[in-house]
Symmetry: C2
Subunit: 186 residues, 2 copies
């Protein structure tokens, strides 16, 4: 069945991309090497993706998967903690962390790639976070005038900061973040 075969190839390509980038880095892998590892032809990859960056971005986006969804148990702090814990685990134990670092690095001199990453990873997260924050505000878990967009920037900003500077990302770290953004240091 061609549909299954093509889904199998697609998965093999994305799996190859995410695992190879962790080992070799963005500059040292090529569409050719990904194709070889996935057992497909270069043409198969170019039929679906315009560039190496696009393949790796899709591999990273897929590996984020449902981890990035913010649950709704009615407790906003617990829900954000649970989502951030999942993201930290993904970053520290799978190819996602290295892939994301490479994509951001490459994106600093490739505005199209950076824009695509924003559209595929950041923008959906802004929508999801905004919806969850609105519920929290209706329920009185967050001040109605709280700036949830800046709150979101702070939460993911600090995670990326520690990732890009190769600082440790222990799950306990999340509690310190949540303590400050919910209660303030004053």
């Amino acid at each position: 069945m061609p549909a299954n075969r093509s889904e199998q190839s697609r998965r093999a390509i994305l799996d190859a991309a995410i695992s190879m980038i962790g080992e070799l880095g963005y500059d040292n892998i090529s569409i050719e090497a990904i194709a070889r590892q996935a057992g497909v032809s270069k043409q198969t990859i170019y039929r679906w993706w315009p560039s190496k960056g696009a393949v790796i971005l899709e591999a990273a986006t897929e590996s984020l998967g449902t981890v990035v969804a913010i649950p709704d148990t009615g407790d906003i702090v617990a829900d954000i903690r649970s989502q951030l814990t999942g993201i930290l685990e993904l970053i520290t134990t799978t190819g996602f962390g290295p892939a994301y670092r490479c994509l951001i690095a490459a994106g600093q001199s490739d505005p199209d790639l950076l824009r695509a990453l924003f559209d595929q990873i950041i923008e959906p997260n802004i929508e999801d976070f905004g919806a969850r924050a609105a519920l929290a505000q209706q329920r009185g878990e967050m001040r109605v005038d709280a700036d949830w967009q800046t709150l979101r920037d702070l939460l993911y900003g600090v995670v990326e900061y520690r990732l890009f500077h190769s600082m440790s990302l222990e799950p306990e770290y999340i509690d310190g973040i949540l303590e400050i953004v919910f209660h303030g240091v004053r």
Copy 2:
């Protein structure tokens, strides 16, 4: 006077590095091109710095200069606002922003460069911030049990996040950050 001449060359090299990286990007400049622009020989550069990354890192560190110092007027919120405003201005109006982006990008696949950047830019900031936070805690401007290290990560993390994702960095944005980290969203 040789000492003056060599200080002049050093300045010319660092100025060339910071201005060229903003225009051309990390990958597209070479020690040779920096030397040509600065009017010195390649050997002069290699006598002082081991690599392109080292020159650019020193240029970025120098251009940060005193902007990164946190003043002490007795009002911690105003003092952090003043420092962050200076950093945002430097990022958005000088070669520092593009240079820093390039260094972080290159650092993702160059652990020595990333470590040098940490030692020269992040570590001194941690010490400076820690000293200012201790005063704020003694004076009751910040809770004594507040985790100033995580507070620091949050403040600079969000600035880097918006820089690396090419999101706007307006000075007014700082007020939103300070409101959350000092008072919390609860």
